[in-house]
Amino acid sequence: MIDIQDVTYKIAGQPILQDVSLQLDKGGIIALIGPNGAGKSTLLSLVARLLPLQTGTIRVDDLQIGQTVDTVLAKKLGILPQELTVASRLTIRDLVGFGRYPYHKGRPSADDHDRVDTALHLFDLSDLAERQLETLSGGQRQRAFVAMAYVQDTDYLLLDEPLNNLDIAASRALMTLLRDLTAGRKRTVVIVLHDINYAAAYADRIIALKAGRVVADGAPDAVVTAALLRDVFETPANVTTVARRQVVLV
């Protein structure tokens, strides 16, 4: 469980997050939604220890963020960057192989190689394994990064707006992949999404933020309502039900 207690975060005196307390139970996909500037990415970055905590505490299972050695946390919590470009030239196999780094510290064992091969196969990347990352399409690259997170074998995976710059096919493929990862409630994916329809379709739980506070929290059909869109996103959009799923009419 990720336990967030009384987290407040300010940049130059401006509050970005105010007294946020959340319990994110293990298993499933948890989507963070909200208008621009609501504090979704900041919250994710705090959990991911990309930003230092100012007030409040965050615990991931029994590990407290800010007090735990980075290498220990790296086996518990993975982050997928928003920017999918890497400065150095890497093949897909190299990239996925780095997912094992927290375990082998640069000296991969036969087991590590096996896991990488399995992941490449599982994510349908075997044919691309020796290709350079920069020669791939956005969707393929995204898949490679998820494969890397998969071999890192963490209980929690954090993603910040991964659907940016992906077309509909790649977006759906990625969300399906994440669904499969969390199948059996073993892993937890926390994901910042812009498109409420994707959140409604794939998430098990949706948390809405506005102006640094949690304003809605629950199952998709409870959260995605016309009232939410009116109050949180300040747009008078209608919500309808298609195939027992909430859909925002844009």
Binding site: L50, L73, V86
Partner: protein
């Protein structure tokens, strides 16, 4: 990978042999030992600069910045001059070159940490602003160095051996032993963190995710870079674009992202350029122009090319 490595090693050996033998006349024993010292200095410089540059590019996450472009070597010369100025010219005469070099290197470690941490933070995400800052800082350091040198001794042009161009043909061999010990020590430290550097090159988010946040290696690496740059600057003076030339060629011939391959390749290439180039300029073509001027010219063109290409 192995083939490439062997080829580079053979090329470097040939360059070294040519450097030692071509045009040697008279007493071979004397000529060889004389040239061997210079050769050792050139190899040390190549090693130090190439490793410093590779590591610097890894922690800053781009392939255009180098310690020299950011003003590290200019800062070393400034600190050296300021040191001589503060202790006075007489006391300076009494100090050995070794003590001076060690003191300046130690000062550089401290100054580089403060200064470049600030610059790296202020210019984060804005590469152009960071490079421009570095280039202007170099100008500032050079002017201040000139200032101190004038104040120390207004008549003599160089109490401190700090020419404006690097002098590969006239290396300071008195510092050789100390330089060798220091650079091998720093090199060993870099080699030990090579796997962590691999992870760091993935960028701040991924490396944090893998349990190696860049800020942790940054301190360590800036100190090692300061030591390596101090060594090469003390031996031959400032070389603006040499590091960039070496790393560009290295990334060209090594498709790998692993520092266990990049670092040795870079050192070999640096050695080939320095020793081979020096042999060519000095012994074969008999040119009076120092190699550094040619390196500066070609390196500058490469820099422009990389800069313009980075926009696409």
């Amino acid at each position: 990978m192995r083939v490439r490595f062997i080829l580079l090693t053979i090329a470097l050996s040939l360059c070294c042999a040519a450097y030692l033998s071509i045009g040697a006349r008279g007493d071979w024993g004397f000529v060889l030992s004389f040239r061997a010292q210079k050769l050792a200095a050139l190899l040390l410089v190549g090693f130090s600069l190439s490793w410093a540059t590779v590591v610097f590019q890894t922690i800053t996450g781009n392939r255009i910045l180098t310690p020299s472009i950011m003003g590290f070597d200019a800062l070393y010369l400034l600190l050296l001059s300021a040191l001589v100025w503060s202790i006075g010219a007489q006391a300076y005469q009494a100090l050995s070159a070794q003590v001076l070099m060690t003191a300046s290197a130690a000062l550089l470690c401290g100054a580089a940490l403060i200064l470049f941490k600030t610059v790296l933070r202020a210019g984060r995400g804005n590469l152009m602003q960071m490079i421009l800052t570095g280039v202007v800082l170099s100008v500032l350091f050079r002017s201040l160095t000139a200032y101190f040198q004038r104040v120390i001794d207004p008549n003599e042009y160089a109490v401190v051996q700090a020419a404006s161009f690097a002098r590969f043909s006239n290396v300071d061999t008195s510092l050789l032993l100390l330089a060798a010990v220091l650079s091998l020590g720093a090199g060993l430290a870099v080699w030990r963190i090579r796997h962590r550097l691999d992870v760091t090159s993935l960028g701040p988010v991924l490396s944090a995710s893998l349990g190696e946040p860049p800020r942790r290696v940054q301190w360590q690496v800036l100190i090692l870079i300061s030591v390596l740059v101090s060594i090469s600057t003390a031996l031959v003076g400032p070389v603006a674009f040499f590091g960039l030339l070496v790393t560009s060629l290295t990334y060209l011939v090594t498709p790998s992202c692993r520092h266990s391959e990049i670092l040795p390749t870079a050192a070999l290439i640096a050695g080939i350029i320095l020793v081979g180039g020096q042999t060519l300029m000095e012994r074969v073509l008999d040119l009076s122009t120092p190699l550094s001027v040619v390196v500066e010219f070609i390196g500058g063109l490469i820099f422009l090319f990389l800069l313009l290409r980075s926009l696409r």
